[in-house]
């Protein structure tokens, strides 16, 4: 296991950020999901040793999170969520500087800085001052500084925030490349589910400081219900009530589409019977693919 934590508690004053979280994460790309305030960033900060947990224990790459933070940081890369740079530097100086602070010899850090900047696609702008960088370039630069010392594990906090669709795809491709072909483990904290779904194989869902769900994405998608998309002609109220009596979960979108979650052993014919009873016509009936979004919604208890 690359990351293992047991019964971690952490509070900011009276506010509980993490409340008895137990996680064992395997190797590979891992997604850390949760709504705002779920405790994702706090967990990352504890794993990096920025914060010391109030109670509980854990290890990252086999090193204790309470006593061996310095060693952990040597082998871990961190890409922060918000913009962060050192003014007055160009990208090469910035990246090699942070490599040096990680413990790399000066010459090696400089050489390596060129390599990683080339890798993330900043080769042409590497001598430009950081203050002149666009949002997309800053994201790439943050990724470059997180891999300059060739870490075994990278923590990426909202790696695609503030990017246009093309920039997002490019960053996700880089992350996918690093995690799948380069034997580097990646932990991505994000609330953009599609990012996690496209880059990760394992996911951890946090909600209100607690572990809501964890597992392989493919397993999590095998959820214990079937999802149907239904459109009706006529008054939907009676139809919805009828299905709710049968313990079906129903969501209605703004354009009138009904998402009907059928329990595992329920019969989809019940919907047609209910429509017949309520004298409404079913105009659209499609069995939908369950997504991570559905699982996420179920785990954090939102519709």
């Amino acid at each position: 296991m690359s990351i293992e934590i047991k019964n971690i508690h952490f509070s900011y004053g009276q506010v509980k950020a993490l409340d008895g979280v137990d996680i064992s994460l395997p190797k590979g790309a891992i997604g850390l999901l949760g709504p705002n305030g779920a405790g994702k960033s706090t967990l990352l900060r504890i794993l990096l040793g920025f914060l010391t947990p109030d109670s509980g224990e854990g290890s990252v790459l086999g090193y204790d999170i309470r006593t061996q933070q310095d060693v952990i940081r040597k082998y871990v890369g961190y890409m922060p969520e918000n913009d962060c740079l050192l003014p007055g530097m160009d990208a090469v100086t910035f990246t090699s500087y942070l490599g040096e602070l990680s413990g790399m010899p000066r010459q090696e850090a400089m050489k390596r800085a060129h390599e990683v900047l080339f890798y993330v696609g900043l080769e042409e702008s590497r001598y430009r001052m950081l203050e002149t960088y666009s949002a997309g370039m800053k994201q790439r630069l943050k990724l470059a500084q997180s891999i300059v010392h060739d870490p075994k594990l990278i923590f990426l906090d909202e790696p695609t925030s503030g990017l246009d669709p093309q920039g997002r795809t490019e960053i996700l491709n880089l992350i996918l490349d690093i995690s799948s072909k380069k034997d580097i483990q990646v932990l991505i904290s994000s609330h953009i589910l599609s990012d996690i779904e496209s880059a990760c194989s394992f996911v951890v869902i946090l909600n209100k400081g607690k572990l809501a769900s964890e597992g392989k994405i493919s397993d999590l998608k095998q959820i214990d219900y079937s999802l149907y998309e239904v459109r009706l002609k006529g008054e939907a109220g009676g139809f919805i009530n009828k299905l709710k009596e049968l313990n079906y979960r129903i969501e209605q979108t703004a354009d009138g589409l009904l998402k009907v979650y059928l329990p595992q052993h329920a019969d989809s014919q019940d919907m047609f019977k209910a429509a017949l009873d309520e004298k409404v016509q079913i105009r659209h009936f499609v069995k939908s693919e369950t997504s991570l979004e559905d699982r996420f919604a179920q785990a954090v208890g939102v519709d």
Binding site: G13, C84, L101, M104, Y119, D150
Partner: protein
């Protein structure tokens, strides 16, 4: 922009166990300071007193060559501990030191706060102490260049120009005094500047604070002294406190007839409070409550 034209390759090297992991912070701090507009000019101006005092040492030893400049029977000047004290505590030098602090110290921490870069430092195997030491060493470098280095050079030149060790035999404690006072004034300014730099994210405000506070305390002393005629108001002034301590370290009479220990304690207290505040202000993460 093309992604992945060249693949990622693992680094084959090994991490160094560095004795001074904070050194890159200092090196880049010094480098960036020298890149600042007008800094080189100010730094050169700060070295002018050192050059003048060095010429003074030369003249004192080659007095016969300069007889035409002085009246018979009068002494031009003599190089003694008072001479060193005058160099170390002269108003121009202190003023220029503050100017240097404005250049090299104002953005030391405030820039990191403004650009959220603390998390970049602390996500490396770097302790908080290393960070502070790295930043403080930038100040130490520049202040030693205008205090300790000239002081040592003066002594060496004095020995070279005189051609004997009489001077050092006469004042064997002088090197220690130069060293201790340089460390003291450097330490004080390091804490003073880092405190102010950690209080605001805007380096311009910090620059104004560094300069303003130094002048303000001196002006305040002038006003109170003018009204109440009490020498104890000199303790308000940072400049006077530094001069009082300097005079004591070089075994000279203090300018104001009060114990130098008061000044010493005040400056130490400011340093301790600064240290505590800086420690609290600099956290690796923004904690939102």
């Amino acid at each position: 922009m093309t992604v992945k034209e060249k693949g990622y390759s693992h680094w084959k090297g090994e991490f160094e166990e560095k004795r001074f992991p904070w050194w890159p912070i200092t090196r880049y701090g010094i480098k960036l300071t020298f890149k600042r507009k007008f800094f080189k000019m100010f730094f050169f101006m700060t070295l002018v007193p050192a050059f003048v005092y060095l010429v003074g040492i030369y003249i004192s030893e080659r007095i016969e060559d300069f007889n035409f400049m002085i009246r018979e029977g009068t002494e031009l000047f003599s190089v003694n501990p008072a001479y060193f004290k005058n160099y170390m505590t002269n108003e121009f030098l202190l003023f220029m030191i503050v100017m240097i602090m404005v250049f090299c110290g104002a953005g030391l921490i405030s820039d990191d706060l403004k650009y959220n870069s603390l998390q970049l430092y602390f996500s490396r195997p770097l302790k908080k102490g290393h960070y502070f030491l790295g930043k403080a060493s930038v100040i130490v470098f520049f202040l030693f260049m205008v205090t300790l280095v000239p002081g040592i050079v003066f002594i060496f030149m004095k020995l070279i120009f005189s051609g004997n060790f009489k001077f050092i035999q006469q004042y064997p404690w002088l090197i220690v005094s130069i060293f201790i006072y340089s460390v003291f004034i450097t330490g004080f300014f390091a804490f003073y500047v880092m405190l102010l730099s950690s209080l605001n994210k805007n380096r311009r405000y910090v620059a104004v604070l560094i300069f303003g506070l130094y002048l303000f305390t001196d002006i305040l002393f002038g006003i109170f002294y003018g009204i109440f005629r009490s020498k104890y108001f000199s303790l308000i002034s940072i400049k006077v406190n530094l001069q009082q301590v300097g005079a004591a370290f070089f075994k000279q009479k203090t300018s104001y007839d009060i114990s130098w220990l008061y000044s010493f304690i005040i400056l130490i207290l400011i340093s301790i409070v600064s240290m505590l505040v800086i420690k609290k202000k600099v956290t690796s993460v923004e904690i939102i409550k």
